[in-house]
């Protein structure tokens, strides 16, 4: 029996890569007058439905999508959460 899962993916630039958008937001935060905020990183949030006989199987399919398409491993990291729907 196939079950349906929801995959939730966050993609962010790797820590070692300068994030110019994050830096610009950081400067805006300073201008706003809020203190104590730094290391702003801009990323993407992507979600999709994925079928699988088990959570493990759905996770493997979702991971493949992340690795091969949603994130570019040269410059990005991703985090993936798979939950039953």
């Amino acid at each position: 029996m196939l079950q349906v899962f929801l995959a939730k993916v966050h993609v962010t630039l790797r820590k070692s890569i300068l994030d110019p958008q994050g830096k610009a937001v950081e400067h805006a935060v300073a201008t706003l007058g809020v203190v104590g905020v730094d290391e702003v990183r801009i990323g993407k949030y992507i979600e999709f439905r994925v079928d699988g006989k088990s959570e493990q199987e759905a996770r493997e399919a979702a991971e493949q999508v992340c690795r091969k398409l949603l994130a570019n491993p040269v410059m990005e990291d991703f985090s993936l959460v798979v939950e039953p729907q």
Partner: protein, 253 residues
Amino acid sequence: MKEMTDRNIRFGVVVFPGSNCDHDAHHAAGALLGQSAEFLWHKDHDLKNSDVIILPGGFSFGDYLRSGAIARFSPIMKEVIRFAQDGGVVIGICNGFQVLVEAGLLPGALIRNSSLRFVCRFVHLRVENGATRLTNRCKQGEVLTIPVAHGEGNYRTDPETHRRLEENGQILFRYCDKQGRTTPEANPNGSLDNIAGIMNEEGNVFGMMPHPERACDPLLRYTDGRKIFESIINSFVRPATEPELVSIHNGGR
């Protein structure tokens, strides 16, 4: 590798939805340089016997997800990748360069310009390796004037890859000032080490952010882009007469 002296070089220009320099590249190779040029629709699988494939500039698939990330999965890319692996000459200009790094045919990545601005202007490029199929009509260290037009041309790679690019002469161009100095001010996008264009280790896949096809017509004032196209043509016409070129030819599989 095909060798020829008696006929035109066939340029195939891939057209993705959102390509906008495809006609410029076709015009430069065809009308201005007198070669034959064909458009190749991204959904086709036929490279129409092209000798050279150009992935043109533009915003393929609206730059959705990441620049070049969707285009790399277009049907014709299967053929382009096979062609490149067989030693065929593939040139990615601007968005085409982004597609080539996404496809893994060239190392590294192109991220948002450090200024966060779209940069559209003429830049100076120093020729770092004048003995490639893309630069053999340029002198080593020569300064070319060619325009850039991009928002994501900030070239990045890890230190190990950077070292290998340098050692193997795979860095083709660096952003520089009029005098050929690679200063931070001359760098329009924050690229690592002012890198503007690279090639693969085998010397048959090329990527550059600047647009040589926009600097070919005397009407547009600067014609340094012609040297790039002439180099490609030259690399087919006289492979045996240039010692440096021989090794590059043999490097192709």
